[in-house]
């Protein structure tokens, strides 16, 4: 029980301190851009009604989900192929490095030219393209870095290419794939917002911009808070999935460190 309280204290401690500081720091603020936290919280329920959640938050999250999902699938498939084939690697490495170096938000206007500003397509493509590189590059590294003895073992027991892929290569690369996916997820959240800043009419990012343009400043702040909460929620979900799928990796590392 004491341990549980202690753990909860660690998780909540800093947020509570920050919120308190914000609360008192902003309490007497008269600046229209920096409303007291109490005002922001007061406007919260009237701003984030169920209608708004369905109309703005869910579509944004759906686009994030689709874009991120696409990036995961394409990234793992391409990354595995590139990681396994030295020829493909030699061909694609400079190109991959180039695309990795391009900041994803730069893509927004370019993609909008082809896929449109307002529809779902442009936004999904933006999110998927931004999320793709970390997953792709980490998958390549994960597949390449597979323990050679495991490869020899798979070969000497005549594992078919399919079994080798499913039981050896992908699980072996999975810690790196998760590292890439975690980076991608945060890039995805950023792109989810950015893709809505230009000319979109619904969505979380669009809502925040509209509040700002219509001088609904406390409402704008609530939007920022919602975004932050979504970030926390997604990170927690990700951690849960990761802990489940990489239980062996976590356990192995703990033992190695203990030894």
């Amino acid at each position: 029980m004491i341990r549980f309280l202690k753990a909860t204290g660690y998780v909540l401690g800093l947020p509570v301190i920050l919120l308190t500081a914000w609360w008192f720091g902003s309490a007497n603020s008269t600046s229209p851009f920096w409303p007291p936290l109490s005002t922001i919280i007061e406007t919260f329920p009237s701003t984030w009604t169920w209608d708004r959640i369905v109309g703005d938050v869910f579509p944004s999250l759906a686009r994030l989900g689709i874009g991120f999902g696409l990036a995961v699938v394409v990234g793992i498939v391409l990354g595995t192929a590139i990681g396994l084939s030295p020829t493909l690697r030699a061909l694609s490495e400079p190109v991959l490095e180039f695309f990795r170096a391009v900041p994803p938000p730069v893509l927004v206007p370019i993609i909008a030219l082809f896929a449109g500003y307002t529809g779902w397509l442009g936004k999904i493509v933006t999110i998927a393209l931004g999320c793709l590189w970390p997953i792709l590059l980490n998958t390549v590294e994960g597949v390449r870095g597979l323990e050679p003895v495991l490869g020899d073992t798979a070969k000497s027991y005549h594992l078919s290419p399919w079994r080798r892929l499913v039981f050896v290569v992908l699980p072996g690369a999975s810690p790196r794939i998760f590292t890439g996916a975690r980076q991608s997820l945060s890039i995805g959240v950023i792109l989810m917002v950015i893709s809505e800043l230009f000319g979109a009419n619904r969505g979380l990012g669009a809502a925040i911009v509209q509040f700002q343009r219509s001088f609904a400043i406390p409402q704008m702040w609530t939007g920022v808070i919602v975004l932050g909460l979504i970030g926390v929620l997604l990170a927690t979900l990700f951690k849960v999935v990761e802990n489940r799928m990489l239980a062996w990796y976590v356990g192995q590392r703990q033992i190695e460190r203990g030894a």
Partner: protein, 291 residues
Amino acid sequence: MSITTMLSGRGAQAPAAPKTDVALDLRNVQKTYDTPGRPHVEAIRNLDFQVRRGELVCVVGPSGAGKTTLLRSIAGLLDVTAGEVVLDGTTVTGPPEGMAVVFQEYGRSLFPWMTVRQNIELPLKEKGIPKAERREKVDRALEEVSLSEAAEQHPWQLSGGMQQRVAIARAIAFEPTVLLMDEPFAAVDAQTRAELEDLVRSLWKHLGVTVLFVTHDIDEAVYLGERVIVLSNRPTVLMEDVKVDLPPERDQLTTRSDPRFGELRGHVYELIQRAKRGERPDETAAVDKGV
């Protein structure tokens, strides 16, 4: 016990090897590495020896004698430059069907994301063995290495010696005609090592499997083997094929204090020392020193 029957059943069906009792035949095997920047590095000059069916043969050599190169060539993981490796009458061009390898790096040859059972089961799945039978074979193999209670654990939860026993269980569940072991006990402590040596002896005896055991440890080679093949320095040739005429029942205590054991160990030790100095068998010694 029934692993024995299955093994012999398998051997009886194999039509590829009707003629000889030779399980493994190395015919003038040569291996030269040709990498850019380091062209023509001769690892194995010429190796020519046979392992009879059901024999336990140890290979020793000074460090850098190309033991691993030799083992990888036999395992079909490395192409030979000239000559051939013949297993059960068939030339080895890739990892052969009837062979299982236990690698030195036990911790790295087991799949950490699988349980012990899944590790042993995977090659059997590939063989297309039905589920119930697979389960039975895994259980039996684990029993052979006295690890039945660890079946549902992950390899990294086990000690080094136990992990290597899992690797051995996986190899024997595969029911190979030849079991290759590449310095399998190099990384475990001395007590565990003695246990594992006895385990190999007893498995070999009651499973009737042919074992080729590569090691750098002279005592281990003499203790385990029916024959000890001593390799020379690089480029490797056969230094001497030493017959170990110790009684078949071996025991860490009595065998190791047997005067004959001492003699054989002394002889192999001397051969290794000579090999380290760059001496080679017979007339080639002088020539090679000149080169």
